[in-house]
Structures are given as C-alpha cells and as structure tokens.
C-alpha cells in the first residue's frame, strides 16, 4: 500500500529551474505518466523520486513520511531505465536475483522468487543467457522483472518503450501494464510519446519548462486542455491565434470563424480545433461553428481522410473524418464550409486560460460536472 506525494518539489541547476513547484499525488496502484517534450523536467522529477537527484525544495512523501533523506538504495524503488541498464556480465537469472541478494536473500527462497519472476516475465528459457544475447523486448522484460523482484513500494519507468521498434512497443507496453496492474504497484512512468502515455496511464501529467501544465485522465486532457500547449500536445489540435469579436466571431488572419459555443468577454486569444471533430459541408452552410474556405490538399489515409482547408492568406485548418460514410476526396480549390460542434473547439484568452462555454454541453454525455 503505497501512496506517493510530491509536495512543491523543485530542482535548481545554478539559477535555472529544471523542476519548479511540482505537486502530485499518486494513489496506491495507480500508474501516473509524466508526459512532455525533452527538457520539460519529467526525467529530473523521476530521478528525484528515485533519489539520484537531490531536491532543491519541496518534499517527497511515501505513505506520509518523507523519503528525501534516504539514499537511493534504501528507497525501495523499482527502476526501469530507458537503456535497461542490465548488468552485462550477469545472466538473466543473476540480474533478476541482484536486488534480492542485496537484501540478503539466499538459497531456495532466492531461487523460488527468481523463478517466479522469470515465469511472470516469460523469460524462463533465457535464464542462463547474457543480456547481450537477448532481443530488445526480452531485455526490457528482464529489466522489469529485475525491478519487480524486490517487491518495490513504487515502480519507476523511464521511457521504457523508446528503445523498442514500433511493432514491439504496443506489445511490451501491454505487458508492462498487465504486470503493473497484477502486482498493484504505484507507478510513475516518464515518456515523451503521447500515444504511449495515453495507452498506459491511469492519469497523466503534462509538463513543460519544469512546471506542471495539467493533471488529469486522458479524457480530461483531450476534452478540456487547460492550456494551448496541452491542446497542441495531446491530440494535435490546429491552433489559431486571433481576436474574439462581437457576435460569437473569432477573427484570425482576416478569416472570420463563427464559434460553436457562447463565451463571455472579448480580446486576443487562441482557438484550438480538433481536426477529427470537424466536418466539411457545402460552401453556403454557414451557422454556429463554421468557417468558409477552399480545399488546398486532400489525402486518403485508409480509416480517415484528411483535407487541408485554407481559410485565410496564411491560415489553414486540418479536417480529418472517417471514410466509413463513403465520400471521396474533394478536389483542390473546392469552396467548402468547415463545421464543428462545441466539443471540437477550445478557446483560450490572452493569458492562456481556458474560457468556459456559457452553453450547456450536449455533445458529450460522459462528461463530468467538475470541470
């Protein structure tokens, strides 16, 4: 039963803050993913939890007591590295046994625990091999088995899938998720890959420049991004900087977009539109949630088709819709109206604060009221 709390955690390198004011609570058995571009502070945060980087400020508490004073070897954290960091001179079994031996485990108990871990990680045939004789996916499983063997209080995963080729990622990711869930381990995973993050997380933390941008479930981040950065990073929205004008119109680069929702206030802001929630209609189909433009580029991608629609001198928006309804590609130059519902748009003010819609939101019945 491990509940991990990061309390206003910070790390300075000289005058630069690598991590600033990060507060998180990770529940027992939860898999929390730290997501962000490189240099966002996610790895530094993970290394502070592991004990390899000293915190400059704040606290880390495990089940209520601070672990900041503990050296890494007494923190009981199972750590899986991006490079796996398997001991190259030890067999798979000896790698898995390492942490147990450090805890003084010997003889049959040790052998039994190692065998159990090898079975769980489906590594039994490779027990006596050296790491360099294994494939990347197998090495990853050894790293995981080695970290889990010591029954850590927290599992820390540092970019665990990034060294694998694309075909293996999904499979190994599922393996990790299953092992983690079976053992009910409180887990922090760090990644820069949003698909990976979405697939594995219970909750996600988007970080940028050492700070937390937003914490929430996949749905929270996708439906209600707290900042333009999150909107752009999760699900790749089209970001349109512009000005809110009277009558529910958003002016961007000369183009007038009619907003689907009703918002208070005027002034500069940013409109984020989800390509997969937009649709194309006839040129004269104006109304709330629409903008006129002309098709510039059209691609057929199998499950979806993608149209790039030019709405201003330099402004384009991407419309991605399913090919299930049939409908071929529109030829370049075709005049169209791009249409959307309230759930497709997200409006931020000049300070990047999200603007709540004054309409009730009918599009998503699953939505919770606590937004």
């Amino acid at each position: 039963m491990s509940r991990l709390v990061l309390d206003r955690l910070g790390r300075m390198y000289g005058r630069a803050a690598a991590v600033a004011d990060v507060s998180l609570e990770i529940d027992d058995g939860e898999l929390l993913v730290l997501l962000g571009p490189s240099g966002c502070g996610k790895t530094t945060t993970l290394r502070m939890v592991a004990g390899f980087v000293a915190a400059s400020s704040g606290d880390i508490r495990l089940d209520g007591s601070s672990i900041l004073a503990l050296p890494p070897y007494r923190r009981d954290m199972g750590l899986v590295f991006q490079s796996y960091a398997l001991f190259p001179h030890l067999s798979v079994a000896r790698n898995v046994a390492f942490g147990l031996e450090m805890r003084g485990m010997r003889g049959p108990a040790l052998a039994a625990r190692v065998a159990e871990m090898l079975r769980l990680a489906r590594l039994e045939p490779f027990a006596e091999r050296l790491p360099r004789q294994l494939s990347g996916g197998q090495q990853q499983r050894v790293a995981l088995a080695r970290a889990l063997a010591i029954r850590p209080r927290v599992l820390l995963l540092d970019e665990p899938l990034s060294n694998l080729d694309a075909a293996l990622r999904g499979e190994v990711g599922r393996d990790i998720r299953l092992l983690q869930r079976e053992s009910g381990l409180t887990t922090i995973m760090v990644t820069h890959d949003q698909d990976e993050a979405m697939a594995m997380a219970d909750r996600l933390v988007v970080m940028r420049d050492g700070r937390v941008q937003q914490v929430g479930t996949q749905q929270d981040l996708y439906e209600r991004p707290a900042t333009p950065f999150v909107a752009g990073f999760i699900g790749r929205s089209t970001m349109l900087p512009g000005t809110r004008a009277e009558g529910g119109v958003f002016i961007a680069d000369g183009a007038a977009l009619r907003l689907a929702g009703r918002y208070g206030g005027n002034g500069a802001g940013t409109l984020a539109l989800r390509p997969e929630r937009l649709s194309l209609a006839a040129a004269d189909a104006a109304g709330p949630g629409s903008v006129a433009g002309s098709v510039e580029l059209a691609s057929y991608l199998g499950a979806v088709r993608e149209h790039v629609v030019r709405i201003g001198p330099t402004l384009r928006i991407v419309v991605r819709d399913s090919t299930a309804q049939g409908g071929g590609l529109l030829s370049a130059g075709t005049r169209v109206t791009v249409r959307w519902d309230q759930g497709a748009e997200r409006l931020f003010d000049a300070a990047d604060a999200p603007q709540p819609s004054l309409n009730p939101e009918p599009t998503d019945p699953r939505m919770t009221a606590d937004d």
């Binding site: 070897y73 390492f98 080695r146």
Partner: protein, 276 residues
Amino acid sequence: MAAAALLSPALFVVLLMLGAPLALLLRFSLDRYDPTELMIETLTGANYLRFFADPFYVGVLRTTLGVAVAATALCLLFGLPIAYRLARMTSRWKTACMLAIVLPLFVGSTVRMVGWLILFAHGGMIDGALRRLTGGGLELMYTPFAVISGIVSINLPFVILTLQSTIETIDPRLEEAAESLGAPPGRGFWRVVWPLTLPGTATAGILCFILAMNAYATPYLLGGPRFQMMAPLLYWEFSTNNNWPFAAALGLILMATTLILTACSSLLIPRRYRVA
C-alpha cells in the same frame, strides 16, 4: 582479402622492425664471448646455462619480478580510484585533471627520477624534514621502497589512462540500477563496475608489469649499485663487459619471462568479462 592485402605492407614493416632484431638477438645469445675477439660464432647454450646455474643471476631475476609485481599491484590500487573519479567526472575540471595526469609523461623519466633523488636523498626533503622534527633521519635512497615508488610514479599515468578509458565505456546507469536495487555505492562498485573493468585492469596491469620488468633508469638512479634488476645488469654486460652473447641471453630471458607471465595473467580473467 582486400583488407589483408592492405595490411601486408604494415605487417612486413612490423616483422622487419621487430622480428629481425629479435632473430639477431637469439643468434647472438648462442655465440661465445671472448675478451679480445668479443663474439665467436658458434651454437652453444652456455650463456643460458650460466644464467640459470648461478644463484646470483636467478636472484636478480627474482628481485626484478618482485619489484614488477609490487609496482603493478600498487599502480592498480592507486590507479583504480583515480581513474574511476576521472571517468565519472563531468565538470570542466575533468580536462584539468586529465592534463595533470598526462603532463608528467611530457617530462623524461630520468628527469623525474632526479626529482625523487632530491626527495629521498640524505638531507633531502623527507630525510631533512624528519631530522628536524624527530631528530632521527630516514634512509630512503637506494632502497627497494625508492625503486618501487619511482616505478609507480612513472607507470601510474599509463595505468590511470587505460583504466579510465575502460570505465568510461561502463554505463553509469548500471551503478544507479545497482543502487536502486539496494546496493550501497561500495557494494555496487564491487559487484557491477569492478567485474566490468577487469579487461581494462588486465591491460593496465600488463602494461605496468612490462614497463616495470624493463625499468632501467629508476633502479639505476634510485636503487643504487647494490640494487640489481635485469635491465641495468643487461646494459652493464653489454657495454662495460662487452659480453654481447650473455647480454643477448639476458635480454631474451627477461623477455620470455615477461611474455609467459603476461600470457598466464590473461588466462585468469573469466571469458565472459573479456568483451562486454
């Protein structure tokens, strides 16, 4: 095949430069010495027999071996922690530290020995300081301690640089992995880093051992006339006695001993550690 063809001129030069003098040395060692004729061409094992039948010469070889083994052990003992620190250093001090270690190599070993002479001599820095402090001096000059210190000081940079380049190939994450698994830093080092440095340690040790076995200036200057090692003895036989056949035999015996022990030492390292 093309690669082999490219190699062959180099191979030829190496064979010529290395093989020919060795063959000549072997030939000389089978000749007979004469005070006026110097070398009389014949085929005799008398020079080798003379060496192994005389406890004096075997004793010199034993002294040489003892000094070489002690110097090698000390070099590895001092070199490993320094090399480790250096390899794991990331700050700008690393360049300065590397330079400090490489710099002595720019000074000839004879000149550095003169430094030791000043340090060890009667009334020198150590002896003089002790005399002032305690009233009694410390005779360091012309002792095995002086010779081993001198050899260690000369060989240490080679050992450190060899070890450092090995340790730098070891992922520091391995140590973090060990630590996260519950190994305190010291224990992690011995269980993870040390086994992986073994190939480099062997290379450094062999390098140090070979250099120590063949040390000339150090035993000559710091050991004094009463401390005999193979290289000065060989030179004395060659130049003062003009006994080239015996000197050639001494040279080959020294080389053979060094080669055999070097070959044995590489067998001590388990196969799995050899190439990571």
